[in-house]
Symmetry: C2
Subunit: 339 residues, 2 copies
DNA sequence: CTGAAAGCGCTTACAG
DNA sequence: CTGAAAGCGCTTACAG
């Protein structure tokens, strides 16, 4: 039989209200009384009943926010779905979710979104931040104001954010190279199409990839180009790279841009070309079914959104901050057969 | 603002008790009153508040059961962990979990475990059933007695079980062959070590594997042996097979038995041998780190247990039977780099 | 067939 | 600094 506030109150000879104040550090309890209550709770192994808590929370009207820099982006749609699913499960606490979608790394826009969230009175925010000092400062000011903030999918330094939830980028690149180790154990001449060299995560992926490639016999990275996550840019970049480097026998798409890049490869001939990409959007799945992309390394976008909200909930409602500063998703290998 | 029983009661001009009876089909409500209540609820988009429900359920002392035929088995330990995690999340409903572990496919033992569960008054059971008529009948009698039953990890036919939760065995075999397609695109001579040819799942895996192999140029299954999930049997089987078939260049472990089987391969020489296994126990991970097993296809054991309890909960507490008869896990590819 | 009341566990506004 | 009481939403034993 689980222990309740009522039982602790009886044992301590005080009212349930006092037990609540002591247990939750709300103050206004005589120190020696507080101490005794905490001891009794500890001894009896008290854990709050979630349902009781939920019902009482109904009147608080809490809300969480999520800010992702990606409008009409299939990947972030999944992150949002995960976040919605989690918050739906907290519906009995009367918690709601505010969503803000940005586009094109517009710092002013993201600052405004943070302001709106604060004005709306959210208790916690998950954000995929643009990595610039203005955002850093803004995040720190919101934390000072008592709002719980964590980063999702991309991280930002010098802030008091609770934790980072997202891809283990370095290991993602290592895993991509691992597939190559099995498929093309030597003589790799890799061309990399990254998103932006200003994106920390993309660089970590490339580092993991090239560190691993160095351990394979006679293998090296021939060239790197940026796609800026734009289809046309990716097309031109891949075309330029494949033309300038006819020795390239392997393409690694370390970010979005696989669709445009693959079109260039198709135009120039894909014979003997091994291709690894990231994520599994519909277009990537289609290229895999055609046998043009051989493997893709995914990062559980749904679970990123889900976990982010779970961590905010634990921090805010259960007063339990995350155990780890980095909450990494699994790097999931998909090939045609397990799409 | 979500709709509550109280609001429906006011609109319908009846008491909350009557609304509860109508909404949950408990009978004792005048048909026209019931109809009106259901209409109002429908129209207002009523969904029961989980916390309210949980608190009221505290007094019911429900319990669920799980029966897995595997004592001291690392794989099933994960299934159990998942089940415990899910039931912990239902603690606020006062629900508890009963666990029964069997060993060695003992039908009498499993029948006794089912009896115990029923005597203990569980509301639902997840079972990894031994596939024999006695168990079929027993399961059907328990369902007749009002207990919700579902199968986990292995299935059984001719029963009224709610659904099956577990590996998509056929696709697991297809995925194993898919890795071969990338690593050794032609000339495969495969030796298969299965668990038991009496296990439906193992056979489905082999079927998926060999169907896929047939589509690869100059590739075929050279031989099949059973391990009966025993290390020594697996060792002898692999040794016999590799000796009799020196042309074998690929080993596929379609069940447990990889550890014993790999020892035979090591003793006879692993040069040029490609090895695919199932699951990722500690011993398999160790063989992968040594580069002896190249890829393993996993089936999310933790999630199997978790989902099984979730489905029981939905069926029993929310009166919502599972949407699908087959709840398949993802087939997760692991290589050394993403262990 | 129906309603009023109590209770599940936690929190809070109010009174003292 | 503390307690008594009400309330969150749902269910049920009891009375009629």
């Amino acid at each position: 039989m689980p222990v309740t506030v009522k039982q602790i109150a009886e044992l301590a000879g005080v009212s349930r209200g006092t037990v609540d104040r002591a247990l939750n550090g709300r103050g206004n309890v005589r120190p020696e009384v507080e101490k005794r209550i905490l001891e009794i709770a500890e001894e009896m192994g008290y854990t709050p009943n979630r349902a009781g808590k939920a019902l009482a929370y109904q009147r608080k009207n809490l809300s969480f926010g999520i800010i992702v820099n990606a409008e009409g982006n299939e990947f972030f749609d999944d992150v949002l779905k995960g976040a919605r699913m989690a918050v739906d499960e907290y519906a009995d606490f009367g918690i709601t979710l505010r969503v803000a979608c940005g586009r094109g790394y517009d710092v002013g826009q993201q600052l405004a979104q943070l302001d709106e969230m604060q004005a709306a009175g959210v208790s916690g925010i998950a954000i995929s931040p643009i990595n610039v000092p203005e955002i850093e400062e803004k995040i720190n000011r919101m934390i000072d104001a008592g709002i719980a903030v964590l980063t999702v999918n991309s991280d930002i330094e010098n802030t008091g954010r609770l934790c980072y939830v997202g891809c283990n980028y370095y290991q993602s690149g290592v895993t991509a190279a691992g597939m190559l180790r099995l498929m093309r154990p030597s003589g790799v001449r890799a061309g990399i199409i990254t998103g932006s060299i200003r994106m920390l995560g993309h660089n970590r992926r490339m580092k993991g990839f090239s560190d691993s490639l160095k351990k394979m016999p006679d293998s090296l990275v021939s060239d790197v180009e940026e796609s800026l996550d734009e289809r046309d840019v990716a097309y031109q970049a891949a075309r330029r790279m494949l033309t300038a480097h006819p020795e390239i026998n392997t393409l690694y798409f370390a970010a979005a841009g696989a669709v445009g890049g693959m079109q260039a490869a198709i135009d120039l001939g894909t014979e003997g070309l091994t291709v690894i990409s990231c994520d599994d959007t519909d277009e990537i799945r289609s290229l895999m079914r055609q046998g043009l992309i051989h493997a893709t390394i995914c990062q559980e976008p749904f679970r990123q959104g889900y976990r982010a909200m779970q961590i905010l909930f634990d921090a805010i409602v259960n007063n339990t901050p995350p155990a780890e500063e980095f909450c990494y998703m699994d790097n999931i290998i998909r090939i045609r057969e397990n799409l």
